[in-house]
């Protein structure tokens, strides 16, 4: 079927987290969808491919339930019940780092719009999420998964978008979705530029194991070199996102296993016992990029192809999930009344819906990172006071938690309570 068919409603270029989610959401909305991925699905789920884990906000997790992804994640999901934001104590010669005294605490039961029993969010390792998305895609109706084959060209005619594949096939659709991340072929074909900048920081990612259970608490310390996040995973494990100045990060990556573990312990603290590092470590240069437009006639950008934000708030994949939900909503409404899925009149609704959210998130993560990635005494004092104040005002804290849970604004159907 997938080998002979050439015409679809929607072709998604890129079969990563955002691309597969967008494809599943569009197929769920009743559109005929192809998702094209250059990589072999087997490579995408290998332990060595991507060591990151992603936070999925509670509203976004509802979509994963509806799309049949949550059921395929099985026990590989860790609930985040509490988020503790701390102005972290930097390790010095005398004592270890760890949570500092001023803190901001978000609890799941404080968020009124959350349904009974919903946590603030869920932590899932990216490779587990990929496996679940691939399994859901394999079983989904109206969805062809074409991989591994590269997209060589994307072009737009008044009536259709064309996608040329490396194996010589040519596909056509009313709409092409760019979901290939930073090197988006679709974005180039749209002639859309990106604006943004690089941070002088690198994100080091590793998985830790601790003797003591973490109790579903996510920690974020703000250390002078950048945020240090401990995100709970199943089985006493945690995903560590350690933001470090680029040069220091290079040195940390070069350490042997014992020295690296010692550096992690110095920052992590010992409140969960003596932590160990499990498996390999990865490093990712950090930057902020936003596409100047998310849409063009017969084309739309989702996920990292549309924008990449600082991982400080754990929002990267969440933005991609919201893109998928909003796109599916807009396309379902268009199809319902017979409008062209690739028409600018339809796509402008997607852009209006998603671009403000993206810019707000990009700005917020940037400001937070700048505010917290330094150790100047007055700045440190001011932010401690600000965090303590927010923590004292239940309304402000709940608003923050709802933002972290992605539950604000006009919710697409896929994100509404189940």
């Amino acid at each position: 079927m997938a080998d002979t068919r050439t015409r679809y409603d929607v072709i998604v270029c890129g079969g990563g987290l955002s691309g597969l989610t967008a494809a599943l959401a569009c197929a769920y909305a009743g559109l005929e969808v192809a998702v094209v991925d250059a990589l072999d699905p087997a490579a995408r789920v290998a332990v060595t491919f991507d060591g990151r884990a992603s936070a999925v906000a509670y509203a976004n997790y509802r979509m994963l339930v509806r799309l049949g992804v949550a059921a395929r994640l099985g026990d590989d999901v860790q609930r985040i019940e509490t988020i503790l934001v701390t102005d972290g104590r930097a390790p010095d010669g005398l004592r270890r780092g760890g949570p500092g005294p001023a803190w901001l605490r978000f609890d799941a039961d404080e968020v009124a719009d959350r349904e009974e029993g919903e946590p603030l969010g869920y932590m899932v390792e990216n490779r587990r999420m990929r496996a679940a998305l691939l399994a859901a895609a394999a079983d989904a109706e109206h969805l062809d998964h074409i991989a591994p084959v590269a997209v060589t060209a994307v072009s737009f005619a008044p009536g259709a978008a064309s996608v040329s594949l490396a194996d010589g096939r040519a596909l056509e659709a009313a709409l092409v979705v760019g979901a290939e991340g930073r090197q988006s072929v679709v974005r180039r074909a749209m002639a859309v530029r990106e604006v943004g900048w690089d941070y002088p920081q690198t994100g080091i990612v590793a998985t830790t194991w601790s003797p003591e259970p973490h109790g579903g608490v996510a920690h974020e310390y703000f250390l002078p070199s950048g945020p240090f996040a401990i995100l709970p995973l199943t089985g006493n494990r945690a995903s560590l996102v350690w933001t470090e100045r680029a040069a220091a990060a290079g040195a940390a990556m070069a350490l042997d296993a014992d020295d690296f573990r010692a550096e992690v312990r110095r920052r992590f603290g010992d409140f969960l016992g003596e932590v160990d590092v499990e498996g390999p470590r990865w490093s990712h240069p950090l930057g902020l990029r936003v596409a100047e437009s998310f849409i063009a006639p017969r084309a739309v950008l989702v996920g990292d192809a549309a924008r990449r934000v600082h991982p400080i708030a754990g929002q990267g994949f969440n933005l991609g999930l919201k893109d998928a939900a909003a796109l599916a909503d807009v396309l379902a409404e268009a199809r319902h009344v017979g409008l062209d899925a690739g028409g600018l009149d339809v796509l402008e609704r997607y852009q209006t819906w998603r671009r403000f959210d993206s810019l707000a998130m990009a700005a917020a993560t940037d400001v937070f990172n700048r505010l917290y990635s330094n150790d100047l005494a007055p700045v440190r004092f001011a932010r401690d006071v600000a965090m303590a104040a927010v923590n004292k005002i239940p309304f402000a804290r709940r608003a923050f938690a709802r933002d972290a849970g992605a539950d604000f604004g006009d919710l697409p159907r896929l994100l509404r309570p189940l």
Binding site: G159, A160, G338, D345
Partner: protein, 263 residues
């Protein structure tokens, strides 16, 4: 046979002169640019399309969840312009005949439909001409934003009614003749917001719901409405409303049994 002929015309005419196709393709791009001069129509389109789908689905007892609920139904789009309604109707499955008095609009609509591989029978003409030519009756007639531009409202609406098959549904959309409509639809839309060229609408040509209802009822149709349509400036979107003082729609249904259509 007539259908076969019109299909041939539709398929062949755009290939007659490549220069002309290019010219009309550019005009079509204008019509279909939601940021261009037809922006108000694009903004207005979703609410009226949804109304059409809902009304026809209920009146004709169609499957509300079908992908192509109008499959097999003959639909007439009067004053089709560049095809902003005809194309969605074709995607919903209808066999669409689009009629417009401006030849340029018909050529534009044909080129755009061909580009989008939609089979729509566009004709340069008018409702009265169709009726006189003995055209087969239609299951759905869209009469949207036309009555306020015709020379004789009563004659025009009676001709449209004559084209409606038993059990068929006509939807009329227009602008009321009220002081509010003058303030918003003429002064506001044309002179303040510049949504429409000055002179698009003339106050004395606007039509009160009763004036549209009377000729349709006289032709034996069951008329319902008016259903108001209002613009929400904060959302920059149109929605159905209880206020029919400016934009409104009527539905007119021909009973399955009753007086035969005049022809």
């Amino acid at each position: 046979m007539a259908e076969a002929l019109s299909e041939i015309r539709h398929l062949e005419s755009p290939t007659v002169d490549p220069g002309e196709i290019e010219r009309f393709s550019k005009i079509a791009a204008d019509w279909w640019n939601p940021r261009g001069k037809f922006r108000p129509l694009h903004k207005f389109n979703p609410v009226r399309l949804k109304f059409i789908r809902d009304v026809v689905t209920v009146k004709k007892g169609l499957d509300a969840n079908a992908r192509r609920p109008f499959a097999g139904l003959r639909l007439l789009d009067i004053g089709c312009g560049g095809g902003l309604l005809s194309e969605p109707m074709a995607r919903l499955g209808a066999k669409v005949v689009g009629v417009d008095a401006a030849e340029r609009n018909i050529k534009t609509a044909k080129v755009h439909a061909a580009e989008n591989r939609l089979d729509i029978d566009y004709r340069w003409g008018a409702a009265e001409v169709l009726l006189d030519s003995g055209e087969a009756r239609f299951d759905i007639i869209l009469n949207m934003e036309v009555v306020e531009h015709v020379a004789d409202v009563e004659m025009f609406l009676r001709a449209c009614a004559g084209l409606l098959a038993p059990g068929g549904v006509m939807i009329v959309a227009t602008i009321n003749r009220t002081s509010k409509a003058f303030a918003l639809a003429i002064v506001g839309a044309e002179r303040v917001l510049r949504w429409l060229p000055v002179g698009t609408h003339r106050y004395d040509k606007l039509v009160k719901p009763g004036e549209a209802r009377a000729p349709l009822a006289a032709e034996g149709l069951d008329v319902e409405g008016p259903f108001g349509v209002a613009y929400n400036p904060l959302a920059d979107a149109w929605s159905l409303s209880n206020d029919s003082a400016v934009n409104y729609m009527l539905t007119a249904t021909r009973p399955l049994s009753g007086p035969a259509p005049t022809s």
